[in-house]
């Protein structure tokens, strides 16, 4: 017998989440992920002046705010046929990197780790120490992390005026020229953040963490003295076998991010047991199970539409179902590093993606991106240009593809008679937490939850919490 259980409000994720589980013989037979909030940004943007998108789109999301700005600035630059000067490009990289790294930290310390302090785990050898360290709001770790994060975010005050919701990231570069004494202060702030990560998160130099090349090396590294919160997590991951929990599609996609002179620091690509070509033209959004008026076949976002309907047979979410050539893909830090070809990331997905692999990939990125930020700061050139003016043709279109902390973010823009005619957005969690499509294929999280043990009335097993949060979902981006 199958029983439907509705689970929500799912907390410690960004935004609103509800999951329906079909439970049969003590296991999840099928999961249905519902994004229960709709705001209508794609409708709001229609008819606006192109440049006004820069005020509206960051406010889709308070945690991916700069990523939204950066995707919009890229789409607008594409529409205007322009490239920002080097300072503008570097400032945009730095702002996006501050946000992405701060988000990784927020996820680990505030959203994900508190689940191991649950009473479910009383009796595990690590539990007492984890309660002291990671308990939500009162643990020593969140209270140590927040001041370090706030100090790190002071880089945003200098680079972008404030966070979240800046207008500093423009298609033509940055509104905020930096002088050499300000660059000096940015270096100093970044050095303090490096010290925090090395002392508290890793108990190791960032370069040593970044050089770990396999799961075997990671396990050897864990056994070495040094302390740090990553080692604590790895101990838990071994004990609870989080390396074999939460496998999804194993098709990993990244749009790539952090534009360097010639290429992106993390290039775009697709991985499914091997490197495949990423064909952006093969993206289509299916709305068969979402509350939108059907427009026939799944649409490429450049031709997509957003017309909400109150009732629709078979629909169970405000989230559309994006597919790449008809396939479900997973996106996020793990996907990004697998596509880049980081040896640890590739090794971690050798037997399939997992909760542990997703979490380790985020922390790995802290170690990989911070040294790049140090380099970008030295490349800034006060006195040279920061921003060039954007001019939009009355009839034009553009695409902006970038990586937010939690994965691939795309903006597709069409301008007609000088106004925004269509603006479609596919956010990272739209991919990961999509509902089913016309073919009945479940989304990535829906696949990852199927088969997990769960009861009809007893407390929801902690494993389900771990799997859901391992994706670092951002629900306000998912449906916008």
């Amino acid at each position: 017998m199958t029983t439907r259980r509705v689970v929500g409000p799912f907390n410690r994720v960004e935004g609103d989440l509800e999951i329906s589980l079909d439970i049969s013989d003590g296991r999840v037979a099928a999961a249905y992920v519902n994004s229960p909030l709709y705001r209508g940004f794609e409708q709001i943007l229609q008819g606006k002046l192109p440049a006004d998108a820069l005020v509206l789109v960051p406010r889709i999301c308070g945690i991916c705010s700069v990523a939204q700005s950066a995707a919009s600035a890229l789409a607008l630059a594409d529409a205007a046929g322009m490239v920002p000067p080097a300072n503008g490009r570097l400032a945009a990289n730095l702002s996006l990197a501050v946000e992405n790294l701060a988000d990784h930290l927020t996820h680990f310390y505030l959203f994900f780790m508190p689940d191991f302090a649950r009473a479910d785990y009383a009796g595990r050898p690590w539990h007492a120490a984890v309660v002291e360290r990671f308990r939500a709001t009162v643990g020593s770790a969140p209270n140590q992390m927040l001041p370090a994060r706030a100090r790190f975010m002071q880089m945003m005050g200098l680079l972008a005026g404030k966070w979240p919701h800046t207008l500093a990231v423009q298609p033509g570069g940055s509104t905020r020229p930096l002088q050499s004494s300000e660059i000096f202060r940015l270096h100093r702030t970044l050095r303090e953040f490096r010290e925090f990560l090395e002392a508290v998160s890793f108990g190791a130099k960032l370069e040593d963490v970044a050089a770990i090349a396999s799961r075997k090396e990671l396990e050897a590294w864990r056994r070495k003295a040094g302390g740090g919160d990553l080692r604590t997590f790895l101990t838990i991951a071994e004990d609870l076998d989080l390396w074999h929990l939460g496998r999804a599609t194993d098709r990993f996609m990244s749009y790539g991010c952090y534009q360097e002179e010639e290429r992106r620091l993390f290039p775009a690509g697709l991985w499914h047991g091997g490197a495949l070509e990423l064909d952006i033209a093969a993206i289509a959004e299916d709305i068969s199970h979402a509350w939108y008026a059907a427009a026939g076949l799944p649409q490429h976002p450049a031709a997509g539409s957003t017309l909400p309907v109150a009732e629709k047979d078979g629909a169970y979410s405000w989230c559309k179902a994006p597919r790449l050539a008809g396939q479900v893909v997973e996106t996020g830090a793990l996907a990004r590093q697998v596509v880049v070809g980081h040896p640890l990331a590739r090794d971690m997905v050798d037997g399939g993606g997992s909760v542990a692999a997703r979490v380790v990939a985020r922390l790995l990125e802290l170690a990989l991106v911070l040294p790049a930020m140090e380099r970008w700061l030295t490349e800034l050139a006060p006195g040279e240009a920061w921003c060039v003016a954007a001019q939009f043709a009355d009839e034009t279109s553009g695409v902006g593809l970038i990586e937010a902390a939690r994965g691939s973010l795309g903006h597709w823009l069409t301008v007609r008679r000088g106004r925004i005619h269509n603006y479609q957005i596919i956010a990272p969690t739209t991919w990961n937490f999509s509902p089913r499509d016309t073919a009945g294929q479940p989304g990535a999280l829906e696949q990852a939850l199927a088969g997990l043990p769960a009861g009809v009335s007893e407390a929801l097993p902690a494993a389900i919490h771990h799997v859901v949060r391992s994706f670092d979902p951002c629900m306000v981006c998912t449906v916008h």
Binding site: E14, L37, Y38, R59, P142, N143, R149, G161, P164, P177
Partner: protein, 330 residues
């Protein structure tokens, strides 16, 4: 004092801004002020069934709520059903939960411009029929109605801003916790006067450029942003250039316009956000309390008196000319 925080039609950015508080850990700051988090969707341990049970208790009076904080606008659509946001784990619209708990809470605080007036979510065609707790744009009303008063006789307290500064939130909550927030501490729009009685203009580092109407005409120039680039700092109610953001920041320090995000209706200014609308060359939005004739006269006078240093620096992204050094005469 306990605090229940719920989110609806917004972006979560008010909470993220709040977490950036620069007075040590935010959690310790709250504990120091005697504020206990009953539940917050992003921060609390309790989830799903436990959280649901707690919120039901708050709604039916089994659990007392001292302060209800709402982040995000209230979505009345489609067609008055509230169906654009059903609170996770059930079929009931969020606006029903908010109405029920607001009716029992000792105080109700709107965190951010969305829950104050509707905000960005109410922009354009306002597809979700979004409004604030006690305002619908500039009009009193909103979800709870113009007559709403809490148990202490206060209207909804509007900590407006997109997002609000972390200190605006914490200081408002601390004042409530200490019993020190009375109706005379709120301005005409229900905003705490400790920040809303200031103008963003106060403390702006571009002040010398403003005085001489030495204006930036493009992004990244150092001049005043009011005349060409849409800045409303001289009219916007907030202390952003006195109480800085993320260390040394503010919108104007970041090189872009103040868009007056603490005011109702900021989301639909009727012109391009980063372009100053003008009639016959005169900006439509004049500085607060300034008579138009005097503004025109002073602008003309100060433009003719602009030192070359200020004029040249205004159109550069770095200092071209430093202020001259005076030596005392003997």
């Amino acid at each position: 004092m306990n605090l229940l925080w719920l989110q609806s039609g917004g972006c979560g950015g008010c909470t993220l801004s709040w977490l950036g508080s620069e007075h040590g850990s935010l959690f310790r700051e709250l504990a120091d002020e005697g504020i206990e988090l009953l539940w917050h969707p992003s921060l609390s341990e309790a989830g799903v069934d436990q959280a649901r049970e707690l919120i039901e208790q708050c709604a039916d009076g089994r659990a007392a709520v001292d302060v209800l904080c709402i982040e995000g606008s209230l979505l009345r659509g489609p067609r008055g059903t509230g169906g654009f946001h059903r609170f996770g784990g059930g079929a009931q619209p969020m606006i029903d939960w908010v109405r029920r708990i607001a009716g029992r809470a000792r105080h109700v605080v709107a965190i951010g411009s969305c829950s104050s007036w509707g905000g960005i979510t109410a922009a354009g065609m306002n597809p979700t029929d979004a409004c604030g707790l006690q305002y619908d744009g500039e009009a009193s009303g909103g979800l709870l109605g113009p007559e709403f008063r809490d148990a202490a006789g206060l209207p909804v307290i509007n900590v407006a801003g997109c997002p609000p500064h972390p200190d605006w939130i914490t200081e408002t909550l601390a004042a409530l916790a200490h019993g020190k927030l009375r109706s005379e501490h709120l301005d005409d729009y229900g905003r705490p006067r400790f920040y809303a009685d200031q103008l963003v203009h106060h403390g702006c580092p571009r002040n010398e450029y403003y005085e001489f109407k030495a204006s930036a005409s493009r992004h990244s120039e150092q001049g005043c942003l009011m005349e060409q680039l849409g800045c409303k700092g001289t009219q916007a109610h907030a202390d952003c250039n006195q109480r800085l953001w993320n260390g040394e920041g503010s919108c104007l320090r970041g090189g872009y316009a103040c868009i007056r995000c603490t005011d109702p209706g900021f989301e639909e200014p009727g012109h391009a956000f980063e372009t100053t609308p003008k009639v016959a060359g005169i900006p439509i939005g004049l500085p607060a309390d300034m008579p138009k004739a005097w503004f025109i006269a002073l602008a003309a006078l100060s433009k003719s008196a602009t030192p070359a240093r200020v004029r040249e620096n205004a159109h550069s992204d770095h200092l071209l000319r430093a202020p001259s050094v005076k030596r005392s005469k003997r």
